[in-house]
């Protein structure tokens, strides 16, 4: 069993490395990302679209990698995983963040609420001062993120939304399309 696991691990780590067949490279944050139903696989998959700069700029692969590394450090230092889930793993007090970048709530609720003209600007405004933008009884606490930290988290969430998660969460793309 251990030998089988070793072989599967080698293949899985290759498939899930940034730039592997399941996980896009970090500079995917420069492109539009969608999530639609794939009839051949019978599940929803991310669709990488045309150029869509983040925060009005295009990141080189090196810059994007640095941003992701910093974003992950922010996520760990604030223990995001002890309220939220990533790919369904973590704690269940807050919503799952696997496809958070694609959530219709950013454009429907937070863009008007924060007076932001883009999704990423609304996300940064919310993450820096979540206590100022309540939408529900369970409110995210203020974790005192700087603008740079909030931007890194937003970039990280955009990259995560482009990962092929074998159709998890199901129906997210359908709901997104309806909105």
């Amino acid at each position: 069993m251990l030998v089988v696991l070793a072989f599967l691990t080698i293949d899985s780590l290759d498939a899930s490395r940034a730039g592997g067949r399941q996980v896009p490279d970090y500079d995917v944050i420069n492109q539009h990302i969608g999530y639609t139903y794939d009839w051949s696989r019978r599940l929803e998959v991310p669709v990488i679209g045309p150029a869509e700069p983040l925060f009005g700029r295009t990141y080189s692969l090196q810059e994007a990698s640095g941003l992701m590394s910093f974003g992950k450090l922010v996520i760990q230092s604030r223990a995001c995983m002890d309220c939220h889930t990533f790919f369904g793993n973590g704690a269940y007090y807050g919503p799952d963040l696997t496809k958070a970048w694609l959530d219709p709530a950013w454009s429907q609720i937070w863009m008007p609420m924060t007076g932001s003209s883009t999704r990423e600007a609304a996300m940064v405004a919310f993450l820096m001062h979540p206590d100022q933008y309540p939408t529900w009884t369970r409110r995210m606490p203020n974790l005192h993120l700087t603008r740079a930290e909030a931007q890194a988290v937003v970039a990280y969430l955009k990259w995560m939304s482009a990962i092929d998660t074998n159709g998890f969460p199901a129906h997210f793309g359908r709901i997104q399309a309806q909105n």
Partner: protein, 465 residues
């Protein structure tokens, strides 16, 4: 009594204390669901949650370590080699746990830098403890491994149970090294994180508790070594045969290839088999001895362990790890329901059983019974089953309304969480949590009192004869 056994008693006291902290933090975590404004921006949900799950791991680990330090000198007929290091590290371990807890309560989290990872909070579920403390855990576990292996070496004796235990402790120690890295890629991070979490909880800990239950059954019911060792080998083979690739049920949705859906689904479906073996074993032994024992509390807690492990870890795990179900149940309170039942059944009941076993020996009580243990046993198990039921209803509500119908958007998450089924289930969970806490107090009272009065009463009863 050997020094090692005195150390075991200290470990049990620390374990039962942390069990209480775990319950307090759990009740607080449950309260946030009922009153989300509670301690907002002062002490938020994530910190209570961290205290709850980290003390869970530590109290069980301390219980296991204490149990081994108790059984080891009996097994080998000699004092544990290097016991003074183990004694020293016990205090280091307790101090480290206290310091980490204070940092979690007072400092909570730090900035986005390596300093936070080393000294405040690593932010990875179950292994949030900062790296310096993780180094301490490694030191304790390595010393523990040294104590066990060196004692067996010096005694020039190895038994089947001890051999399995030593082989199990090596991966137990090595896997914990996974508590240190900060990996940028979330898919890779979770891939290795599950090696630690799954391989500890669903493999190495299962084997460890199997060894401890084997020793317990020999002591509790006088079951022959040949029988318990045969069962242990069967269980270990089944645990390793199903549990290693059963790891695959954590790899369905983290960005790993689709073949894990088949592999993980298949082997996870087999994972209840070794747990069923434990039930058969327990029922067989209990039947052979016509349910007669001189230590009823330990006996009933062993039975609770066997059934709780099978139902909580096995049946509840099987129920939600088929990928077709897991697509909707994953990441909901359904997982929490399974987690509570599994940890309780697989490990907590076993550790409590061993505590009763040990107390009978230390208090030299032939008639080892009381009313309080029944209250503790009843309230703890009732509270646990009630919490598990409430969480299951909440999880099913999420699976339907958040996952299947709502597509897991924020709006769907809110809609499911505001659903009357979910809200009432959260009240039920809290109420049964109170019942569980009352059971804890009964347990602690009984652990302090049981056997003491019987030991005094015995000579007066004997006098008229």
């Amino acid at each position: 009594m050997y020094r090692s056994q005195k150390l075991a008693l200290r470990y049990f006291i620390a374990a039962i204390t942390l069990f209480g902290v775990m319950i307090a933090a759990g009740l607080l975590s449950a309260l946030y669901y009922i009153d989300p404004a509670l301690l907002y921006n002062v002490f938020d949900f994530q910190m209570a949650k961290i205290l709850h799950i980290d003390t869970l791991i530590i109290w069980l680990l301390m219980g296991f370590i204490g149990a081994v330090y108790w059984f080891l000198p009996k097994e080998l007929g000699r004092e544990v080699v290097g016991i003074w290091v183990a004694e020293l590290l016990f205090y280091v371990f307790c101090s480290a746990v206290a310091v980490v807890a204070v940092v979690f309560v007072v400092v909570q989290y730090g900035g986005s830098n390596e300093f936070s990872m080393w000294f405040i909070n690593q932010g990875r579920k179950y292994v949030e403890a900062p790296r310096w403390a993780a180094v301490g855990v490694v030191a304790v576990v390595l010393t523990f491994v040294f104590n066990v292996t060196a004692t067996a070496w010096q005694a020039r004796r190895i038994t089947g149970v001890l051999g399995v235990l030593i082989l199990d402790l090596v991966p137990l120690a090595v896997l914990y090294l996974d508590a240190f890295p900060k990996i940028t890629n979330m898919s890779h991070d979770l891939y290795w994180w599950w090696w630690l979490v799954h391989m500890w909880v669903e493999a190495t800990w299962e084997v460890l508790i199997g060894c401890l239950m084997a020793w317990s059954l020999m002591e509790l019911m006088g079951t022959s070594r040949r029988i318990v060792e045969t069962w242990l080998y069967i269980e270990v083979m089944l645990v390793l045969g199903t549990g290693i690739l059963g790891l695959g049920h954590h790899y369905f949705w983290i960005g790993t290839p689709q073949y894990w859906l088949s592999i993980g689904g298949f082997f996870s479906a087999l994972e209840p088999l070794p747990l069923l073996g434990m039930v058969v074993h327990a029922v067989y032994d209990a039947g052979t001895h016509h349910m007669k024992t001189t230590n009823r509390p330990a006996f009933y807690w062993v039975l609770a362990e066997a059934f709780g492990n099978f139902i909580g870890a096995g049946v509840f795990g099987f129920m939600m790890t088929l990928p077709q179900i897991n697509l909707y149940s994953h990441g909901t309170q359904w997982t929490v329901s399974h987690g509570h039942f599994a940890f309780w059944g697989a490990y907590a009941c076993g550790v409590i059983a061993i505590m009763y076993l040990v107390l009978q020996r230390t208090r030299s009580a032939e008639h080892f019974d009381s009313r309080a243990w029944k209250w503790g046993f009843g309230l703890l198990n009732l509270g646990l089953v009630g919490m598990v039921g409430g969480l299951l209803i909440a999880g099913i509500t999420q699976a339907i309304y958040e996952r299947a119908e709502g597509g897991s958007t924020l709006q769907a998450f809110v809609a499911a969480s505001e659903h009357p089924w979910f809200r009432s289930a959260m009240y039920a969970r809290f109420i049964f949590g109170i019942v569980f806490a009352l059971g804890y107090f009964a347990l602690v009272y009984d652990l302090l009192a049981i056997g003491r009065r019987a030991a005094v009463a015995a000579p007066t009863q004997a006098a008229p004869a």
